[in-house]
């Protein structure tokens, strides 16, 4: 009898190892992720997920559409255009770093093989500034949101299309780290990102409808009424972490960059519609 149990235990162990070895690919993750929401909200058109909670909240949507008639982020776009056009002290402009023009949001984030890291748009903007002897911008609040608003606006209609290159295992690792971050519980309140935006997406938390994770990255930077201004994706990440009473990570640090890589990949196929307006 004891031997039977031992054998069973061994088989169970072997199966367990087998499962770990067959981790899902990003492609499989993407399909499972998007299918989950299709099943949960069968009446929502795929592109409408780019509108966050308003895809599933008719009353909130009406309010939001009224706000969009006079978009609160408009002055930030204008200020961003001024920044884009204004020459640096050395006479060069952002165009010298980004010859394809301001409509480049759809290229980010991407895996930078040379640097061995996820490259984001805010990071690329600051590298441009520093390469031209200018002071880098802060990553959460302030003028970075102007230039990001302008770039996002010019990039509207592009499609989210994050690539996890197969020729560099470090890219897959960055993706996996971002995925792990998303599903890991943290903070005194012990929530993962997924607790609210996958497991309980569409449910009501006090008076707020929890928005689906699918589409979360399409509309940044975002004007939040709560902030009274436009803020970056990483500002939102750190706010979420603080809400669950966890210590926020550094904006544009490796943790949030990898999280952005994973989360944006999960929205592959959705239109870019930033800057957005949210409560």
């Amino acid at each position: 009898m004891k031997k039977v149990f031992q054998t069973l235990a061994l088989i169970a162990l072997a199966c367990g190892i087998g499962v770990t070895a067959q981790a899902s690919t990003p492609e499989q993750d993407l399909q499972a992720f998007q299918n989950f929401f299709k099943k949960r909200f069968p009446s929502v058109e795929m592109d409408d997920y780019a509108n966050g909670a308003y895809a599933i909240d008719p009353a909130g949507r009406e309010n939001w559409e009224a706000i969009e008639e006079f978009p609160p982020y408009e002055p930030f776009i204008d200020d961003g255009k001024t920044m884009w056009d204004k020459p640096f002290t050395n006479g060069k402009t952002y165009s010298d770093c980004f010859p394809d023009g301001p409509a480049i949001a759809g290229k980010y984030p991407y895996w930078d093989k040379e640097k061995g890291m996820v490259m984001t748009l805010p990071l690329a903007l600051n590298q441009c500034l520093e390469a031209n002897g200018e002071k880098p911008l802060k990553y959460k609040k302030g003028p970075i949101n102007n230039i990001l608003s302008y770039i996002a606006f010019e990039s509207r209609g592009q499609t989210t299309n994050v690539v996890i290159p197969k020729d560099d295992p470090r890219a897959l690792q960055a993706y996996e780290d971002g995925k792990k971050f998303y599903y890991a519980r943290r903070g005194q309140l012990n929530f993962s990102c997924a607790s609210c935006h996958i497991q309980n997406a569409g449910m009501i938390l006090r008076t707020e409808i929890l928005s689906p994770a699918l589409g979360h990255t399409t509309h940044f930077p975002v004007y939040r009424s709560k902030w009274g201004t436009v803020g970056t994706l990483h500002r939102r990440f750190s706010g979420c972490n603080q809400q669950v009473r966890a210590k926020a990570f550094k904006a544009q640090g490796e943790e949030y960059r990898n999280l952005e890589y994973f989360l944006t990949y999960m929205s592959n196929g959705l239109p870019l519609n930033g800057p957005g307006a949210r409560k």
Partner: protein
């Protein structure tokens, strides 16, 4: 071994509550009218404390969430008060998938505060 300290905490808690009822409530009802139940209600409704309404519908509470079951018929659902306390202390013991914050395990509420919340929830 793991179960014992919890039982002990539960017993200590129960004793505290019992003692609290004898000591605090007669005084309170005479003075400010705060019994353990009322203290528990205040903690349960406080956004920075229990904030139970964020997820649970509770009779007498405004703007509840709908993530978790309504808090009704609690004595039918938890005939044993210690089980209710354990659920609030750490809901993931019973259900690892539960999104409910482990109020005791993570110290979001003190042991005394949990006792008071249990007293309140037990009346629902």
């Amino acid at each position: 071994m793991i179960g014992n300290p919890k039982k002990l905490i539960g017993m200590v808690g129960a004793i505290t509550v019992l003692a609290g009822q004898f000591i605090i409530s007669p005084m309170a009802s005479a003075a400010e009218g705060t019994s353990a139940t009322e203290k528990g209600k205040a903690l349960a409704f406080d956004r920075m404390k229990g904030n139970c309404l964020a997820c649970h519908n509770i009779p007498g509470g405004a703007a509840p969430g709908n993530i978790a079951p309504a808090l009704i018929a609690m004595q039918t659902r938890f005939p044993n008060k210690a089980d209710l306390r354990r659920q609030i202390w750490d809901a993931t013991i019973k259900n690892p998938e539960s999104a409910m914050p482990p109020f005791g395990k993570h110290g979001a509420l003190s042991e005394d505060e949990i006792d008071a919340v249990v007293e309140f929830i037990w009346t629902l």
